[in-house]
Every structure is written in structure tokens, then in C-alpha cells.
């Protein structure tokens, strides 16, 4: 089924390239939505290593992650031991965090949403509003390029006028097989603030998938966060019980 969509999308692009004009944006919309869904899957279980790199130190966490649809995810830390059991639950645009040492669940308040998630280059907002790209932007296909023999869509995403997003613009590179290569975040003056790169595309969980993500702020070249998939499985669905506050406290391994 997925393949079908890709094919249709590919045809549409070609069609629109020839026709030009208004429909173009609509099409970019589809590419973004499809690749987002491809990336997320219906549901997934993954084990990742997150490496937070700074000029004078580096820290890594092993995290187990469950996702379901566009809106639900659960993360729990497996190592290092001192952080084991720390968890984050996201449902819709709300987030909760659990700290086993004090055995408390806190709902992430608005004031913490723009803060860094676990000290990384991702903010809580990046996680909580990961699907914002789908709803808050108008996407326009601005061109294509070829990367290692594969066509890559270059998409410029402009936030809708009233959308509560801080970015002035995003630029996306999406391979024709719907794999994200790069997501760039610009401010309102069209200056690049940070970029998320996807590397090392291989077969993961039965589909082609970028094994490594790297988030880096433009202003701090020697600071970045790497997320590497150690293991990834896609599921048809996952139980709703997994994305509850009690599951946050005692996640399944």
C-alpha cells in the first residue's frame, strides 16, 4: 500500500512539474505527509542511542521508544544506570515526565516546552509538536536534485499565518522514496537556526530507514545531538495501555 502512495506521489510530481501553478503546493503537502507517515510508521518499537556532544564533553543515553500514529510516544531510558527509568510520555501536544528517584510524574508545563529535552539539542517542543510540520505549514516544492542516483525533493515550508510556530520557514529534503534527508529550521529573517540531518540509510525494521539523525544548531558548530537506531521494529498497532501515565512509570521492556 505504501509503495502505491509513493508511486502516485511520484507521478503527481511529474504531472505538476509539467502543469506548474497552484496544484504544486498541494502536492508538496502530500509528499511531506507521506514521508512523515513513512518515517513514523503506524506504530513502532525502537531502541536508540542518543549522544549529546558538546565542546568538552559527551554523554550518551540508551533509550527505548514506542510510537503510535502521529501523536503518541513513550520514551524510557535504559542506560546509563543513574538515569534508568526516566521516562517521557507524549500524547497529542501534551507531555509528561517521570523521574523514578522521586517517583513523580510531572506534566510538562508551557514554561518548560521550549527547554531542552534531557539536555539534548531537541527541545520538548520538538518532540511534543513533531507533527506540527504536517498541520502548521504550507509546503511548496521548489526543485529537485539528485543524491547518489536518487531524486530528492526540495521543499520550502512556510508556516500558516496564525500557526503557533516560532520558525519563519523550514526547508526539507525528502528522497523520492519518502526518506527524510534534511530538515532545516529558519528564523523570520530566513537565517538558518538549526538543522536535522538523516544518514546511513539501510534496512531497519523491514524498510529502508535512516539509522542516524543529527540535530545541530548553526551557531554552535561543535555541539550536536546524534540519535542512532540500534533496533527498530514496525508494528501494525500498539496497545493504548502503553501510552498511559501508569505505563510511563513501569514501561515494558
Amino acid at each position: 500500500m505504501k509503495k502505491g502512495i509513493v508511486v502516485i506521489a511520484g507521478f503527481s510530481v511529474l504531472l505538476l512539474l509539467m502543469v506548474g501553478g497552484d496544484g504544486y503546493a498541494q502536492d508538496a503537502q502530500t509528499i511531506v505527509a507521506d514521508s512523515f507517515n513513512y518515517w513514523r510508521g503506524e506504530a513502532s518499537i525502537a531502541t536508540v542511542t542518543m549522544r549529546i556532544h558538546r565542546a568538552d564533553w559527551e554523554r550518551s543515553y540508551t533509550i527505548k521508544a514506542w510510537t503510535k500514529g502521529e501523536k503518541e510516544s513513550l520514551f524510557t531510558i535504559l542506560s546509563p544506570p543513574k538515569d534508568e527509568g526516566n521516562g517521557t510520555l507524549k500524547r497529542g501536544s501534551e507531555m509528561w515526565m517521570y523521574n523514578p528517584k522521586i517517583d513523580r510524574v510531572i506534566k510538562v508545563p508551557p514554561s518548560m516546552m521550549s527547554q531542552s529535552w534531557m539536555g539534548s539539542d531537541f527541545s520538548n517542543n520538538d518532540l511534543a509538536k513533531s507533527d506540527s510540520l504536517l498541520y502548521d505549514y504550507t509546503h511548496t516544492l521548489t526543485g529537485t536534485e539528485v543524491d547518489e542516483g536518487t531524486m530528492v525533493y526540495l521543499i520550502t515550508s512556510i508556516p500558516k499565518p496564525d500557526a503557533p510556530v516560532v520558525w519563519g520557514m523550514q526547508k526539507l529534503k525528502i528522497r523520492e522514496d519518502l526518506i527524510f534527508l534534511r530538515e532545516e529550521f529558519y528564523d523570520e529573517d530566513q537565517k538558518l537556526v538549526k538543522a536535522l540531518d538523516f544518514y546511513d540509510i539501510q534496512i531497519l525494521g523491514g524498510r529502508r530507514y535512516p539509522r542516524v539523525m543529527k540535530m545541530q544548531k548553526t551557531e554552535a558548530p561543535d555541539e550536536y545531538t546524534l540519535v542512532e537506531y540500534d533496533d527498530l521494529t514496525f508494528e501494525e498497532t500498539l496497545s493504548d495501555d502503553l501510552f498511559t501515565l501508569s505505563a510511563l512509570k513501569t514501561p515494558r521492556r
Binding site: 501536544s93 508545563p109 508551557p110 514554561s111 521550549s114 527547554q115 503557533p164 519563519g168 528564523d187 523570520e188
Partner: protein, 406 residues
């Protein structure tokens, strides 16, 4: 004749009299000027605070002040409107606001602020905000995406008029509410902290964002006569259900109120310090004057003058010196304050330090009649009291020693 005698006595040594008088003049002058500076400063602080957002009186729903979240708002302001319509004196203004803590962010920065949803028209008559806009323009009543931001925040966020800010807060359902606004104008405030703390949007926009319906957080009142504050507060309190809190600026600004009460003691202490410096001068000079005239006091005693009369004579001399010094000192003091009051004293050169302690940028010294009275009473009464010492010395010279004294 006692007056003439005392008056002529003080002019026997014009230089000494001039010195004492100058000491009193400088003392009284510095009392008045420093007192007026302090008063001007605190007045300015009070006025800033009231004009910034406090107003003379505020009405809140019970609990809002301790936990300023949208759930503690006045859900239906009808009661308040009725009470205001009935009890506000002629010439009063009031405005209703939504006021919650929020996070403002743009692509690079993010910080906590107080989100104030205002009714642009009535707000303009109550608080500083309309006149404080320096770039861009004030909020239009129908502009539901506009936001007014302080100069300092704009600088910190490296943004400008026309750019977007995203506000996040908690709505009435305890969900995260966020909404994008565009900067329509930037404002300046007396305190940089104010510029960093407050952002203003239309009340309707805030209510929509927070899912607050018609709910408001506070009503702020501006009265034509500030003396009637307590009276109006009591009337409003009596006519509103107990779930409402009606408070005057004194209750709303406890720190400034505390400051005000400290100020009285502080000014009095300052007067005493100045007086002690001045008092030593007076006592010394009077002692010199008395010892120079030992023979004369001896003669007066011999003629049958009682000690008390001699004390009175010396006190009378001090009285003239004090009165002269006070007259000139008050004149200079009033003149200085008058001039400084017209130009104002610009503290912005002090920069961040002054800002930090909450000083206004410009101080207009203000004379309080009670301070003038206190200063003069302190100088006069204490001046006479300390002169009792040299006067008592004068009265104790026995005629035999005194007349033998060369």
C-alpha cells in the same frame, strides 16, 4: 530689651555668627533636598507602579493573587460591572484584563513573561501602555493577532515590529495553549524589568487562546482623587460577593508600601545625622561665645540676675541664630528643589545598578510639608536643647570668679 540684647550679642562676632548660620543653612538645606529626593524617588516608584498596571484599586477573584492562573479568573464579570457602575466616583476609569504567566518564544529565544490581555480603549485611560509605545503602534481593538512588547524584550529576542512571537500558557482545561502573535508595537517603561516582564495582546485574543470565554483576571481602577481609595475600596467590597478581592495599591504593592513606611523613619534618621554634625558646631561655637563673656555674665549675676535669666539670654541668642539659618536654609532648600523638580534628576547614567534596585530613570524631588515641618522642628527644638549646655555653663559662673577673670 531681652531680644535686643540677644540680637546685638550675636553680632558682636559677625564671623562666628556667619559660620553658625551657614552650618544651620547647610544642615536645613541638605535635610530638605535629600528628603525631597527620597520622596521624589518613592513617589515616582509609586506612580510608576500604579501607572504600570496596578491602578489605584484592583478587583480579583478570590485566589487569583496567590495563584495567578486562568482558572482563578472572574468567569462572569457582570457582578463587577454592576458594582463599578454604581460605586465609582465621577471621573474614574476602569479596565478589565486577562493576566496570566506565559512563555514567549521566537526561533532563537524563549522566556517567561506575564501575558496581559487588554481592552485597548479603556486600558489607555488607566495605565501607561498607550503612551509608552515607541515603535510601531498601539493595539487596535479589532487586532487579535497584535502584541505589544517591551523594548528590552525586543532587543533580547533580536526581533522587531512585524515579526512573530509564539505565546504558550495553560488554558482553563489545563492544556497547553499556544498562539502566534505579530509585534505591532514596542513600548518603553520606567523600569527595564517592566519592559521584559509584560506583553500585551487584545483581551479577546487572550480569552480565546486560554479558552476563558468572557473571563477576566482583574479589573484595574483609576480614581480621580487618590485620597478616596480606601473609601471606594470599602464600597466595592461591600457590594460584591465575598468571592471577590478588592485591594488598593497599598495592599497590591506590599514592598512599596513597606518602603513608604521605612521612608519616614529613614528621613528622620537622616535629619538626626545632619543635625548631629550641625549640633557639634553649634555647641562649640556657643561655648566659645560664652567663655569669651565670663566677666559679663559675672556682672549680670552680681546685678541680681538669676541663673534662669542667663540661660534664657543664651537660648535667645541661639534662637536668633537658628531662625536665621532656618530661614535661609529653607529658602535655599525650596529653591533647589524647585529647580531640580523642573529639570528632574536623570539617573540613567547610573545604568543597570540603579535599575536593579528599582530606581526610576528620572527623579523629580518632591517637598512634603510634613518633612519640612519635621526638619525645622528637629533643628529648632534640638538646636535649643543642645544650647542648654553652654547656657547652663554661663549661668554657673560665680560673680567673684567672673569678675576676677581677665
Amino acid at each position: 530689651m531681652h531680644l535686643q540684647l540677644a540680637w546685638r550679642n550675636i553680632w558682636r562676632n559677625p564671623r562666628r555668627t556667619t559660620i553658625i548660620t551657614i552650618a544651620v543653612v547647610v544642615g536645613v538645606w541638605s535635610m530638605l533636598v535629600v528628603g525631597a529626593l527620597d520622596r521624589g524617588m518613592i513617589d515616582q516608584m509609586v506612580r510608576n507602579a500604579i501607572a504600570t498596571l496596578t491602578g489605584d484599586i484592583q478587583i480579583h477573584h478570590d485566589g487569583y493573587r496567590s495563584d495567578p492562573v486562568i482558572e482563578n479568573s472572574i468567569a462572569d464579570p457582570k457582578d463587577v460591572h454592576n458594582a463599578l457602575a454604581r460605586h465609582l466616583p465621577e471621573g474614574s476609569f476602569w479596565t478589565a484584563r486577562v493576566r496570566v504567566n506565559a512563555i514567549v518564544s521566537n526561533a532563537r529565544y524563549s522566556t517567561g513573561v506575564t501575558l496581559v490581555g487588554i481592552d485597548p480603549e479603556s486600558e489607555a485611560r488607566v495605565s501607561f501602555i498607550k503612551t509608552a509605545v515607541v515603535d510601531g503602534h498601539y493595539l487596535a481593538s479589532d487586532d487579535t493577532t497584535g502584541i505589544l512588547v517591551g523594548r528590552a524584550l525586543v532587543d533580547k529576542f533580536e526581533t522587531k515590529v512585524g515579526h512573530k512571537l509564539v505565546l504558550m500558557s495553560q488554558d482553563t482545561e489545563r492544556e497547553i495553549a499556544s498562539r502566534a502573535f505579530r509585534i505591532t508595537g514596542t513600548f518603553r517603561a520606567e523600569l527595564e524589568a517592566t519592559e521584559r516582564q509584560f506583553v500585551f495582546v487584545n483581551k479577546a485574543a487572550a480569552q480565546e487562546m486560554l479558552k476563558a470565554g468572557n473571563g477576566i483576571s482583574e479589573v484595574s481602577l483609576f480614581l480621580p482623587d487618590h485620597e478616596t481609595v480606601d473609601m471606594v475600596r470599602d464600597k466595592l467590597k461591600a457590594s460584591l460577593p465575598p468571592a471577590y478581592e478588592v485591594e488598593t495599591w497599598r495592599e497590591l504593592l506590599p514592598i512599596i508600601t513597606a518602603y513608604l513606611s521605612i521612608m519616614d523613619s529613614w528621613i528622620f534618621i537622616w535629619y538626626l545625622v545632619v543635625f548631629i554634625a550641625m549640633g557639634f558646631g553649634i555647641v562649640n561655637t556657643m561655648l566659645m561665645a560664652v567663655f569669651e563673656r565670663i566677666r559679663e555674665f559675672g556682672l549680670l549675676t552680681a546685678l541680681g540676675m538669676k541663673p534662669w535669666w542667663i540661660i534664657k539670654g543664651v537660648l535667645l541668642e541661639a534662637f536668633f541664630l537658628l531662625i536665621m539659618g532656618m530661614a535661609v536654609g529653607n529658602a535655599f532648600g525650596f529653591a533647589s528643589v524647585f529647580i531640580l523638580n523642573r529639570t528632574g534628576i536623570d539617573l540613567s547614567a547610573l545604568g543597570a545598578g540603579a535599575e536593579y534596585v528599582g530606581l526610576p530613570r528620572v527623579i523629580y524631588p518632591t517637598v512634603y510639608i510634613q518633612d519640612v515641618i519635621t526638619a525645622n522642628v528637629v533643628v529648632f527644638v534640638l538646636g535649643l536643647l543642645i544650647t542648654i549646655y553652654p547656657a547652663a555653663k554661663a549661668s554657673r559662673f560665680t560673680p567673684v570668679e567672673a569678675l576676677a577673670h581677665i
